[in-house]
Each structure stands twice: as C-alpha cells, then as structure tokens.
Assembly symmetry: C3
C-alpha cells in the first residue's frame, strides 16, 4: 500500500507528516522492519533521540519519528517519508497490524478432542486435536484451545481466552476473559507444601485455587501454583514472560509485567503496576508496593515500598546500589589504599 | 461439622483445648483458611508467637494454637474455639484432609491412549486420554498417568506413582513407588554432553539412566537429565519444586527439598536432608554435605560441609555473608572514610 | 568384545597402547563407565592429570589415558589395559557408541497423528502418536517427531531433525537440518512485547519468525520467542541446555553453548563460539563478542568484547572479579581495619 494510504488507515494521532510538505514523497510500503534491519520498501520507527543516527543509516523508505523537527528535516533530506507522533513505538505496534494477522484457528471442535459430557462449552470455540477437557469445566465464548491442551476438572475459562499448545490447567482454576496462556505453561498445580516431621516430609494438601483475572498473559513454560487454602491470584492485565514461577498463595496486582525466569516464593504480595526484570527472585511473604521496579537478578528478602527502584541481591535502593556496584569493582584498589595507610603508620591492625 | 467432632477425628496429639473448660464453645466448622483471610465458620492456625496478633485480628471461628497459655486465654476471650498442639502447621495439614479430597481419577484406561503391546501394566491403573506408552515399559499397580503423558521405551514406574499431564519420561528411566511428577516435567532426557573439537561440538551419547527413588516429587516443568554413563539419582522422599534443573550424573540424597528454579550442573553430589532455596546454582562436580542449607540465589562453586548454612554468589558461610552483605550496603560510606583519611594525611596512594 | 577388538574399531588416532608391549593384557570389555564408578569389565577414561589418582583407584579393566608415560606405567602395573590419545574424553565419546545405540523409532506415521492435508512430508519420517501438524508445514526427510509434538502452521523442519515429546513449534518457525529439540521446548512463540500506555499494556503483535540453523540443539522446556518484526536466530551447531530463555529478536552465532537456565532478554546479539554458564542473564540489546565466556550467574548489562571472560552481576572482567570476590569475603576485616585507623587518629569522619 502507498504510504499515504497507510497513514489514512491509522487510528493514532499523527502530529506531523512529510506528505504535507512533500506530497510526492509517497513510497509503496511492503512491510515493517526494525530500523537496523530495514530494507527499501519497509516502514520502521525511531523510538527516541538515542536512535537518531538511524534516520540516516536505515534503508527504510518511511519512518515513524518522535516529535523532533531536526529528525524530520533529516528524514526528508534522505528521501524518506515520515510521520511524527507522541509515541513512535505505540504507532509502530498499530502499523504492524496493517501487515500482519496473527494465526487464529476457525471455530471448530476436533473429533480427537476428549471432552467430558458435563463440560459446558460456549459458542464459537476452537478446540484443537487431542485437547482433553475433564468434568465440570466451563468454557466461555470464542475460547481457543490449541492442540494437546489439558484441562483438569472444574476449571472456568472466560470469553476469548487463548490457551496455546501443550499447556495444562489444573483443577478448579479460574481463568478470566481475554487471557493468553502460552505453550507449556502450567496453571493451578499443587503448591510446594511439605511440613518437616521427624519421619520426613509430610505433604500438605493444596486445597486452594489459582485465579487469573481478565487480560492476564502467562509465558511459555511458566508455572503458577495453587495454595493449601485460599487463592493464588494474578491481577487484571498483568503480563508474565516465559519460565516465570509464581508460588502458592501469591497475590499479584494489576498491570504488572514480570520478565523471563522471575520467581516468587510462597505468599508474596505484589501491588499494581510493578515491573520485575529478568531472573528476579522474591522470598516468602514479602510485600512489594505499587509501581515498584526491581532490576534484573535482584533478590528481594524484605518489603519494598511503592514506586521505588530496587537492585541487587539482597536488594537495596537502586540509587545506593549503583554507588556500591561502582565501588565493588574498585575493591582491590581500596584494599591496597587501606593496607598502604596501615603500613605508613605502622598501624598494628 | 461441629468443632468437637473435628477434634475427635484428628489423629494428631491434642495437648489442650477450649472444649475442656468451655464445652459450649463449639462452632460449626465449614472449612479451613489462612489466618489472615479466615472468615466466620472457618478454622485456621497460628504457626508461632510471631503471628500472635492474629488471635485477635483473625475472623476464624476456631484456631490451632501452639503450646502457649496466653494465646489460649486470648482466643477464649475472643470467643474462638481452639486446640493447642506441638506443631500447629502439621495439625493444620491434617485438618485440611477432613475438608478436601484431592482429585484422583478412577482406575481406567482411555481408549485414545496408545500402549505398546509389550508394556506390562499393573492393576487398578488410570491411563488418561492421549497417553503414549512405548515398548518395554512396566507400570506398577494403581499408577496414575494423566492425559498426554509420554513414556519412552523401557521405563519402569512403581506402585501408586502419579504423573501429571504433559510430562515426559525418557527411555530406561526408573521411577519408584509413590512418586509425583508434576505437569510438564521431563525425566531422563539426554544430558548436555558435547565435547569441543576443532570442527565444532561432538555429541557424547548419553547412555546412562535417571533413577527416582520412592516418594520423590518433581515440580512442574522441571528437568532431570540422564548421563553419558551411569546414573542421575534422586534419593527417597526428596522434593523438587517447579522449573528445577538437575544435570546429568548428579546424585541427590534422601529427604532433600529444592525450591523453584534451582539448577545443578553435571555430576553434583548432594547429601541427605539438604535444603536449597530458590534460584540456587551449583557448579559441576561440587559436593554438598548432609543437612546443609543454601540460601536463595546462592552460587556454589566449592564443596559445602555438612550441616552448615551457606549464602551468596560465590557462596560463603552464612554468618560471614550476613556481615559482608551489611557492609556491602555501606561501601560508599567506607570509601569516603578511606579517602578522608588519605586526604588528611596527604597520603600519596 | 575383547579390548583389542574395541581398539581396532575406533576411528580416533591411538598414539600408544598397552597391547604393543603386553599383548596378553586383553580383557573382555562389557561396557563403559565413569572412572569413579567403574567395575571390573568396564572401560573408562582419565581426562587429565587432575584425575591421575583414579588410575590406581578405579576398578575399570581398561582406561583411555592422556599422553602421559607415568600414567601408562601405572596402568600397566595395575593390570589395566590402556590406550593413550590426545583427547581422552573425545575418544570415550566414540567408545560409548560401540556399546550404545540411542533410541530411534522406525519410520512410520501413527494413525492418531493429525496432519493437515496441505503439509508436505518428506520420506522416511517418524510421526508418533498424537502429533499435530497444522497447515502449510514442510517436513524434510528422516525427520522424527516424537509423540504429542505440536507444529503450528507454515513451519519448515529440515532433514534428520528430531523433535522430542510434547514440544511445540510455533507458526512460521524455520528449523534447519540435524537439529534436536528436546521434550517440552517451545520454539517461535510470541515475544514479550507490550507497550505501556495510559490505559495499560498494549500488545505489539509479533509478526517475525524464529530460525534455528542446522545442527542446533535446544534443551528440555527451553523457550525461544519470535520478535515483532524480523527474526530471532540461533546459529549453526549452537547448543542450548534445559530451561534456557531466548527473548524476541536475539541473534546467537554459531557453535555457542549455553548452560541451563540462561536467559537472554530482547534483541541480544551473541557472536560465534560463546560459552554462557548456568543461570547467566543478559540484558536487552547487549552485544557479546566471539568466543567470550561468561561464568555462572553473571548478569550482563554492557557489551562484552571478544574472547574475554566475564563474571559477576553486574559482570566485570573475570580477572578483576576474582580479586574483588576474594576481598568481598574479607569486608568485615577491612571494615575493622578502617575503623581502627580512624580511632587511632581520632579522625572525625
């Protein structure tokens, strides 16, 4: 499609565009690409001034620019069509949808699926080959169960939720509407509950449930356990990446994002809008306040106040961490300084 | 059921109870709950004095208390029925079983399961839909294979073991009695054995086996590899949480517990009763002594003596770690002190 | 087989052997074993002088030795047959193949597999029970799909690649020849792409693809995501262990090896021949040079030059890390020294 056509099709607010001044700068756009991999005929985006050099270096025929006049001038000079918007990455996300429709199977129930007669199945669902649905399950409308998904008894799944291949939903789990469970994830399995006794570990039955509120996404091969009593709960619109572990009895708020390989031990409480970077670990019963950010590989053993950034293992305020990490690298030098002082003063320590 | 009835049904030793002095304090108990989420009609427990304030704050109608007279008095004053026991958490685990029966499918073999004719199948087994059992497999009595489990050739599984959905057991693995393999776990796959050569990696065939002794539990999506020669072995009653990795040729003792996301490289030897907290990593060939405890996110590169607590990456004695971690936070301050001393004495360093 | 027969069957270059001087030292070899577990009748190997004591302590009847005359003399004195080679581990890998043939199902297509009629299937393939192959998939010759594998639409899989049970390959992924995907791995799922907006997370469609070049191995339950645009690519002959996460848009070179539980965030570029030890994490957009080595649990936030060893979180040059880690353990002592100096000089800090 022509660049002009593409621009007309966008719902996002366009604040400036090359077409206004250069109506003939109207290339055919064949697809989208990352700015450093773009070829002629593709459209890409410049997230911010940090990537300004790509206006010249990229081979893209058109660019989504931030609100910066000098970038606009450069783009025009390079013969690139452009639009300027408040949030280029967001608009790029919209542009992708003009060129790409995600794979979505047509509603149908494959004859090889094994569905208990007591299950209640909504309308327009897709149930792929070899899916297993046990007794008492309720599926909403337009639910999509990819091949080899297994649903244990008494699970509820809300409208339009998508469960990818080979994932497993355990007994009594409640999954809201518009959730996406990626391949291999396991929701609502028994929490790790063993009581030490003189004769070894005694298993504590995990009679609770796991609840995913609407719009939750769970990454591939992630695991969210159910507790002995009560609930493990993931709040509305929270997104979990791959290989994340959420222990029994955790409560995670709304609109959080947890990167890959994050692990929450048992009974952790996380507020709304919290960001956990990759491989973060949080210990039993810790509380993390709203909008806190924990940087990669941090280990959290104490409660985290709202809206603060924490780092390190054990985690401390990021501001302090940056200083300590800088000095950590200089420990050998500090050690030499200290020893030199001691020698100089014949100090007996 | 009435509280009095519940108390009569317990096998645990009850050391004191409100019914003795207050036979009319006998509420109807409808279920069990965590002490901070309990509602009227539920029974909960106070694990220790740390949670004493919940005797007043909880809405539970009955409590399992530790052996503490003041808590008993408080509970009675609050109109709560109670029992006092040596290990409240253990008794709570027993009480859960009065209200909750875990899901256990009836013995049956689903017609969609594909079972090689050479497999030997015990009595009273459950083999769910789409299970695959290859040649030479032996299943004990009352084994439960949930849907979509895949068993490679020549595997042995002991009586009463439960394999949850979508897990995979590789060739020649030996799984004992009363084991639980949670959804998505992979047992006995090829170890990561590649020999560097001038022309790239040469694969070393993994001809060994993986052995799980009786009573082992393996968490969701955990992986336990087999070695090039010999065995990878997990000892009796050892419990592994989710997303744990056990490399080829490891030997883990009895009654250990490994929290989520722990990783053991190749050839690690772990004694009996060892506790590894979340995200711990242990390097190739390391030996960990009996009853050692390694705290969360520690990285172990050297052998660990029996019954010691280790922490940090690289791991050091926990006692020392607590001191160093405390000073680590004060590094910027120490740095300033050192620089001030140097300035004061015009020290040339 | 006789030791002499075994030696004749090897393709590896044999530099010395006991048979030359002691033609009667020719035991029957029944199998292979690790040197510390070897029993009479087995052959084992001594990787290097570090394991020299096992020449005496091992019960193996025959040994593969490095090029060291004293080990040869010791072995002969112990009545052990031996060969001496440049790389004992490599030759041991060859010897294993004389005693062990890995499980490889015969070419066949199980009737329970669900194969879209538009899929193109090569010759001599194995497609196990309950495999699902969606529309537009192309399988090369001698491809082996173990039970319950799910292939989304438009995937290409090259000749002789093996996909183990319960793994999932997502839409449009391209898998080369001679790849091995271990059980439960997920290739080409949607990257973790969410754009923050005032009204919550907006999903960025992941229109890109994942490409595995020839000879790649992916460990059990590992996950390799596809990007919003462009490719996630794993280079020829690179080997990934279990529970590894590769984020959207990463480019990994050839002949790398990543140990278990490694995580790469989005857009990471890794050169050729890079070694990442267990639980390493690499942040968004970082570049790692050829032949770099990152030691276990390191956290990499900045680019890593070629052929260097880095360690720690945040990662620094290994040489420096070893010094800082040594001093880290002595921080309490340093702190005391500093305070003593301050006290001594009544320094006001």
């Amino acid at each position: 499609m022509k660049f002009s056509e593409l621009v007309e099709n966008l719902n996002s607010e366009i604040i400036g565009q090359s077409l206004t001044d250069h109506p003939t700068l109207n290339p055919e756009i064949l697809g989208v690409a990352a700015v450093d991999e773009a070829t002629s005929g593709t459209l890409s985006y410049i997230e911010g001034l940090k990537f300004a050099s790509f206006v010249q270096r990229s081979s893209a025929s058109a660019l989504i620019l931030p609100l910066d006049e000098s970038l606009q001038v450069q783009a025009t000079e390079q013969g690139k069509a452009w639009i300027s918007v408040a949030n280029p990455r967001l608009v790029f996300a919209e542009v992708i949808t003009l060129f790409y429709q995600p794979y979505q199977p047509q509603p149908s129930i494959h004859p090889s699926a094994v569905i208990d007669p007591t299950a209640k199945i909504g309308s327009a669902v897709y149930i792929g080959p070899h899916v297993v649905i046990q007794a008492g399950v309720t599926l909403g409308n337009q639910v999509c169960l990819h091949p080899n998904v297994v649903i244990y008894p008494d699970v509820t799944i809300g409208d339009r939720s998508i469960l990818h291949a080979n994932c497993t939903i355990h007994e009594r789990a409640q999954i809201g509407c518009d959730c996406v469970i990626h391949s291999g994830a396991v929701i609502g399995a028994e929490g790790f509950g063993f009581v030490p006794t003189a004769s070894g570990w005694m298993k504590m039955e995990q009679s609770g449930i796991t609840v995913l509120e609407d719009g939750v996404e769970v990454g591939c091969n992630s695991t969210i356990d159910r507790p002995a009593v009560g609930e493990t709960r993931i709040g509305k619109a929270t997104k979990l990446d791959n290989l994340v572990h959420i222990g029994h009895g955790c409560t995670v708020g709304q609109n959080c994002a947890f990167a890959a390989q994050v692990g929450l031990a048992g009974g952790v409480t996380v507020g709304n809008g919290v960001l956990l970077a990759g491989q973060v670990g949080i210990a039993n019963q810790v509380k993390v306040g709203d909008r806190a950010i924990i940087t990669a590989q941090s280990g959290v053993h104490n409660d985290i106040p709202a809206a603060e950034i924490f780092s390190g293992s054990p985690a401390i305020l990021n501001k302090l961490y940056l200083k300590t990490a800088a000095i950590y690298k200089r420990l050998p030098e500090l050690y030499q300084s200290l020893k030199a002082l001691e020698r100089h003063f014949n100090h007996p320590v």
